[in-house]
Symmetry: D2
């Protein structure tokens, strides 16, 4: 387990923390029908039911089965059905087929969750050694990742339904106007990158290390829908020179002309949201753009995206606060008043694409067993996003947190913050 | 409407007939969860919920909306969502996306059925003219087709689940042995083909016309699993000379080496059935083979498949009786005692692939409106199958009935009856 | 060999006949560069060099290797490289890779041809038994088929070059106007179909047999470019109701809106021909349409395509004469004066799509060895075309000749003759 | 033009240098037939003829057309046909269709080269300003890149031919044994990365900048075929845990089990080379592996690949010397005696995959016009390779040179040098 290698924190895990995270997952799925929870709308997504089961399978497999002598699995089929990509554990069920599992039912999966929760709680209360405590802690962060995936995936599923169902009731319409865009300047120098040993962090955030940074400037807020619409109207999608070669190929092949969930109806722009189809808020941050679109927009705007180290340097001065899942809005909001000299909305609202490919930090060693498959094996072909979004749990995030998606992915809440050479 | 052109029968439609067919559809779906009813397992299939709604949409659109002045649709979205391929009526929802409709719910669709049923019953009881009566009759035959599709599609869905769920409880195992295969000889001459004006028939069965037939011989029963296993063990799937060129390409590309639902486990053969995974009954007719496999098997066996006219000539002497959906077995059974000189199992058990492409009969004219899209536009690239199968309603069939599938389709209960030149 | 089964003609084969056919193949390739002769423009086509080699391989394999004791092949690699689809003979080189064979060179293949020709001529002059004589006769008809394929394939290759090279110099422009379309009526009755034993015929034309025919009417000439343009301008490609379901899918998927080689440039219509890009001759027969397009056009025109037996019945009264490869025009020409009561251009100009799927005639038995692979194994999924075209050799054709292509194929000279029920 | 922005060198360009590079291209194509030079074997490759024309088009478009008043193009079609991906210049001919251009002929393209060469030479001799001189210098480096591509592409084409043609005569077999693998250690610190302003460099090598490097160790030589065979025999291709997730998917989908050109024949290993199919030299560096395979091999070997900065730091101490195209062997050779403390074969033999994604250096700005499309737009999804290979021109390389390919690409001479944390 990678924890032992680099993690000498002492961790305590109150039952309440475990129960709160698990209950939040259930709460997110509460209003979905068993039909909603069963269907998979594309290869990249998973059904809600699968998320509910897979996060539970994690605790059953890595905690109970590892710890309890002669552990009898809740259902032996589940080991196979709800493994995601842990090759060490055994053959996994092909990802694009997850949506075909009408059995076990949603009700059965809820029983599964309750059953495993009971056992884990009993285990916690019986007193745990540090290794297991850290494993459960990892499982809870893993579960929080899946909470966000659940909402992303439900949004995509509902967007495929011509009746545009709403997952939540729409909030009142924002009347905030986006403040004027400006740039904050940062000096270069030797700066740290990555997480230290104080709190929890994923293996991919470690080791914390020094890096040389050049001076740069960072936009005061993310790009808005209005600004992105300007890009579209200026012919951005028809201008090969602002696109990466792979980006140009991708938008031609998929016939992309707007962000994923935009719809033009009778000359007016709408956006599919978790509250259904809503008029596009021009002052809100643009979202559901691919890396290619973010990069092209930046080039069109005579700017670029930030690097990881630039982003983290700026973010390290800020509190982790903003529009997260706890606000209940589940959609990016226009920036409020902006504190002088500090960039706003670095956390929450939209994940910000960086120009940094997702690679291991110097000294990162992929641990040798199943948990080791956690992050390292995805370190090719993906780009880093930073800061969390409107459907992330606030206590899941930190300034060193690295999210990653393929440059063509759009169903996550990816947004754009511009940067410049100083 | 094609009925007027070629149909001068007087049709009466008792309420009970309407209700019986509609109730049978509901009964078939009764034990499915809303999850089972929502998911689509491949492009060719549809969810049960979609079948339930689409058959209802047929009555709403072609009867109620056509007849009732200022008819207010049950839900305007349904016109779009549950149209199948009737271009005249309006844009239809792309077939491969039917499984993404988690809304409307199964419960809502059941309400829809009840609502439309009420109105149709009221209409029937108010007295109908012949045109509408015939339309409803057509709608009921259309519904019976979808009853069979529902079972085919559920079987395919469940087969994708590694836990192999059962749609029904398995019946006791048959102990019948398949009788020895022999051939019945038939004289050639001028014979009729197609349906006359006595009872209901689809447009594609008409007009009845004379055709010249050469003498032929027809197998006394369908090919069995044992016989097909002999073909496999003799290297049938590795012998290009017994295959049509398209067939050889198809089995290579899809890596087919057995019928669709066969599974070899530890050296024993099993078959996925609507009663779950069961040991392969070697005496039962082989089923879920493509046309290519049926044709290759026949060539390997020094025989051929029958033509439509050969099949119909032989079948016209027989009663429509056998193993249909009403037996509740929902799987082909071994042949019983065979009446001297008559082929057995011509009806029921398995649809028998003929070597006849699905083409219009001489004089068939595709009618000019939406109902006209019913059959004619599928008359390319498909092959005719005859006789019905173990999941067909018995009163849906007749000796002139023409079913049709693409030569690569396997999820219907397609089987093999050999024929020979006399 | 299928000849023995059904062929008791006595065949004589003068050396001159062999040499003439072989020389014609060489002549067709004479003006092509070795580059032209090497490249393959799509999976369906083959390079000229491959045609030159494969037709030679046929004689080497089926005649020399079968007849000459201890025959030493010209080059052992050729057995593998230039086999087309004769599984009996051995593994064949994947069709889509034929264009990768830059070696052996065109010059080497020309040597190969000369070498095998010498040996075959010596063999003929030494006196042959009937079996071998018939095999060589078959090889020559096989070669004539490839002569036509060579021109089809070169046309397709050149059409992919933005500079639109010409294979021949353009002829003077025709000034003929297409005569008015009328219909000739034919009585029904019992009529023969297929080839008798008098001259050469392919196995798929046999056995000649009786069939029952209903009265019908046949168009006096093929549909013209003007008429097809009317169909386009009337929205034919946007009217789902006139299309077969597979046809509608095909034109959407491939975005077809005109025949294969039409190009609209600044509002004027051009057509790519073997003489380069030429203004579209509105009076000439439309060509390079798929079966789907032919069928849709016919439905739009309130007509249908003819069946094989209808076409053959009408054609059997006519001489095989018209615009074939020998005219050197290599493109369909407008119809000339039309003899009263006889349809014109039944032979030559364009292959006429029939509505008959390509199936075996009653009693046709696929012969058991390699030559048996000749035709039978293609009898699925394809449609019959009749009459030959402007690039067919005239002495290759007859009224019973059956050509066949998939309904989506367009690179052959497929055209449209309308028919009607009488 | 990016040169002006960052390049204040004074460049002189003797006619002889221009002629030498151009003549070398012609020499590489000399023994190819016009057929060899015309065919394209996959989407990633281009025909030799296209390389010959495109490199000429570069000089015609960016030098002659830009400089000569009222310049009349050699052939206006060539602007369109031989543009590669310069969107600024105009629509380009789709890459996968390059192999369909049988016209213009190879002879015509040779004329084109001679014609343009004459004009450029006259221009050089008439005296050039610095901007044009630098453009021609860029064109010559561009041409050298295409010299390498030509050989890569010819090798791939010939490998598709079952007769395995040889581009050159095989050299005598090497008898060198690979020296034992050891590691050289390097201290960390602040080190430079990238090219200074002394000699020519591409835009992607600039600006030279400081970076923080941790201590590391680098393998004394590339991994050999013997070592890679050990990986294969140890089940490397069946061990998901040593693969990146994308790598595992790639090898499953393509069924990769060895490097690209390995062939096992009767239990012996062979390798397709530019000298034909040759026994695998177990002491030579393994080549034609993808990044995924290089990375998996490294993980299996308890090591990793080097980063760009590690590689460049080690290479900056070495002369650019080794097995390049000038040796005429055109295949990697076993390492010779190894100088103490210095890694061998850093230059030549095989391009060494680094673990660094291909991204812009800090401060790199993509220039705004056509030449600006040169490198920047490929900076996504690709990985950097360093050092040059056995088919690279020696004077094209330097320690700062960055080559880049997609992680799945294998047709370049990609090889493996291991690294470790110190």
């Amino acid at each position: 387990m990678e924890v032992t290698a680099t993690d000498d924190r002492t961790v305590t895990l109150p039952t309440a923390r475990f129960q709160a995270v698990r209950a939040q997952t259930d709460a997110l799925a509460k209003d979905l029908s068993s039909e909603d929870a069963c269907v998979q709308s594309m290869d990249d997504t998973s059904p809600t039911k699968w998320h509910l089961a897979h996060t539970t399978w994690f605790f059953e497999t890595f905690v109970l089965a590892a710890l309890v002598k002669n552990y009898a699995p809740f259902d032996p089929n589940y080991c196979f059905l709800f493994n995601s990509y842990y090759h060490t554990i055994g053959e996994h069920f092909a990802r694009p087929h997850r949506g075909l599992l009408t059995r076990p039912s949603l009700a059965a999966i809820r029983d599964y969750r309750a059953h495993i929760d009971n056992q884990i709680v009993r285990l916690i209360e019986s007193g745990l050694d540090q290794t297991i405590t850290r494993l459960i802690e990892l499982g809870l962060h893993h579960e929080q990742q899946h909470q966000e995936l659940m909402l992303m995936d439900i949004k995509h599923l509902f967007s495929c339904n011509p009746t545009y169902p709403a997952y939540i009731q729409p909030a009142e319409v924002s009347v905030r106007e986006a403040p004027r865009l400006s740039y904050r300047e940062y000096d270069g120098g030797t700066v740290p990158l990555g997480a230290d040993a104080i709190g929890f962090s994923f293996d991919n955030e470690r080791p914390r290390h020094e890096t040389l940074l050049q001076s740069f400037a960072l936009a005061s807020r993310p790009a808005t829908n209005q600004e992105y619409l300007d890009f579209i109207r200026d012919g951005g999608y028809n201008a090969p020179l602002v696109w990466l070669a792979d980006g140009w190929t991708t938008i031609q092949k998929n016939n992309w002309r707007t962000p994923l969930y935009w719809r033009e109806i009778d000359g007016n722009w709408f956006e599919f949201t978790l509250a259904g189809l809503r008029p596009l808020d021009l002052d809100a941050p643009v979202t559901h753009v691919s890396y290619y679109e973010a990069d092209a927009y930046a080039r069109w705007a005579n700017a670029r995206l930030a690097t990881e180290v630039e982003w983290e340097t700026a973010a390290s001065e800020l509190f982790v606060e903003g529009n997260f899942v706890e606000t209940g809005r589940l959609h990016p909001q226009p920036s409020g008043t902006v504190a002088a000299q500090l960039p706003s909305q670095m956390f929450g609202d939209v994940w910000e694409w960086t120009m940094s490919p997702y690679t291991p930090y110097p000294g990162f060693l992929i641990p040798p067993n199943a948990i080791g498959e956690y992050n390292g094996k995805f370190m090719s072909g993906q780009m880093v996003l930073r800061g969390g979004c409107c459907i992330s749990p606030v206590n899941h995030l930190r300034s060193t947190y690295r999210n990653f998606f393929y440059p063509h992915n759009r169903w996550q809440f990816g947004g754009i913050r511009l940067a410049r050479n100083a």
